[in-house]
Point group: C2
Chain length 316, copies 2
């Protein structure tokens, strides 16, 4: 086993009160995570994406096993075999070994009922960095590779969320932003912690795919100006001094004129964006409602806006 990246412990842990298990359980709470600087990644898909893209952060794997010591989840078993069988496809330099623990059903249940047979413990490291230290053009941050995959045609796009509070929403919009090929996701002001287990489950691994960064509103606007990005607020009403442009018009205008990159800012799921934030943006964009619905929720708005802009940038 010395040559592999995984070390499997023989013993199956069966005591929910054991110190190791109680320390893991503390990571389900914000306070425990802050104290330890670690977090939990539940379920095969998110664990696999963490191992694929941020192996450097993963320290331990916990697999639920049956009475014969076999993993109860086929996908979890595959992950274990892949790690034990040698070097995964992409392993950064200096990676620490991953320790693999088998646990009984009652230990697993005492930690999580959403793990589907496997969870990982990871170090927070630089996973969610500060926007101020991040560069779109790869000189400071880890975006050089990200820019590469957009090819030569795409202007940069950043998705920013102001005071998003619901973990399921936050995870879903990070996943959508990833799929739409954004260069970064920015959590502005007081957002839900991206280390919440529900956020991580809802991202389906996207937290490990795309740079996720934190910023105050001041830092956000300063960084966008420095990076040459146009800031666009997603909002239906606008303010007295700034009126929204309907999305189809924005697309038609930009198809004609081109643009040099933008940051789209979405508001809180209940309250939207405050007027003083709206007035600091270069523009406001609204999604037309063609039917009788009063409004769209945050996840739908983000899907429509980010994808419409991403597709048009690539068609232009």
């Amino acid at each position: 086993m010395v040559d592999t990246y995984g070390i499997l412990y023989d013993e199956t842990l069966d005591n929910p009160e054991a110190t190791r298990i109680r320390r893991v359980a503390e990571l389900m709470r914000n306070r425990g995570r802050r104290k330890a600087g670690k977090f939990i990644i539940e379920a095969p898909q998110a664990v696999r994406e963490a191992l694929r893209y941020r192996t450097d952060l993963v320290e331990d794997l916990y697999l639920e096993v049956d009475d014969e010591g076999a993993p109860i989840s086929e996908r979890a078993g595959e992950i274990e075999r892949e790690i034990l069988s040698g070097t995964p496809e992409r392993v950064p330099q200096g990676v620490q070994r991953v320790f693999i623990h088998h646990v009984s059903s009652r230990v697993m249940t005492s930690i999580s009922t959403d793990a589907q047979g496997i969870f990982a413990i990871a170090d927070m490291g630089d996973l969610v960095g500060s926007l101020a230290d991040f560069s779109l053009y790869g000189t400071l941050g880890r975006s050089a590779g990200e820019r590469g995959r957009r090819g030569e045609t795409g202007a940069p796009m950043v998705a920013a969320f102001w005071q998003v509070r619901d973990p399921g929403n936050a995870g879903t919009v990070i996943r959508t932003a990833d799929a739409a090929g954004v260069d970064a996701v920015v959590l502005v002001d007081d957002c839900v912690t991206p280390y919440s287990p529900k956020v991580i489950r809802s991202t389906a691994g996207s937290l490990f795919h795309v740079p996720v960064l934190r910023a105050s509103a001041d830092e956000f606007f300063e960084w966008c100006a420095d990076s040459g990005l146009t800031t666009l607020a997603a909002d239906v009403y606008g303010t007295e001094s700034s009126h929204p442009t309907p999305l189809p018009e924005l697309i038609a205008d930009h198809a004609a004129a081109g643009h040099s990159g933008r940051a789209i800012l979405f508001g809180n799921e209940a309250r939207g964006l405050e007027d003083d934030i709206l007035d600091r943006c270069n523009g406001i964009v609204s999604i037309p409602i063609y039917g009788k619905a009063e409004s769209l929720n945050l996840a739908t708005s983000a899907s429509v806006l980010l994808y419409s802009l991403a597709m048009h940038d690539r068609m232009a």
Copy 2:
């Protein structure tokens, strides 16, 4: 009160075991709803939309009141006043009166913890009809008004969902389809019941805005053919004989050639669409993934596809 459309009972109901309350509680379950032919609409927004668009179905309102008999929810109180103050803006001919009941907090809690101070009891009536009896062009169904609001330019668009099972998903996609201005939503084969309280909450009233219809797969394809609609499946992989067209290509082609209306069919949230269903569609459309996410969830796919097509139909 004889001239108004609401009748308010003086007494505040405070016994969760009273026959009337127990009968209402049974409507939280599928079996109870089927037996009674009625369903529950929770929370001010959905209740208000039901009263605005399908007053004919609403039979009773239940408002939670405080010890002084005042509604605990301001928005619920407004709804009560509006009904008692006379004729609402849109009242169909032959509407029955709405009976208004005040209930204590413990009665409300025994029924629902999601009602935010108000729920309505409504008759299922024709709310979710059969697709076979529905006409896009208003001769049989209630779509004449729907077509009107699309103006002269838009070709018809129908959103169909095959075996959607999660109530939150079903409600969200009905709301998105409404906002995107579809002419109808079709629930194909074995879907979650649209009368589930969670579906109704998630639609935020859209169940009362847009025709929602049921069909078997056979009925769906037959109706689309009869109605002159092109059927497009939303799917990433396609089948051996039918390959997906990426959404941006589909849009570019149709912008050039126009089209005579389409039905977009979405699959089950976990399993997608089966091959035999895919092969029966006229075409398959896929949403490109520009980042590293593996897939999009149903709600995101529906948002992106329905809105992209709706916007382009109106821009063309």
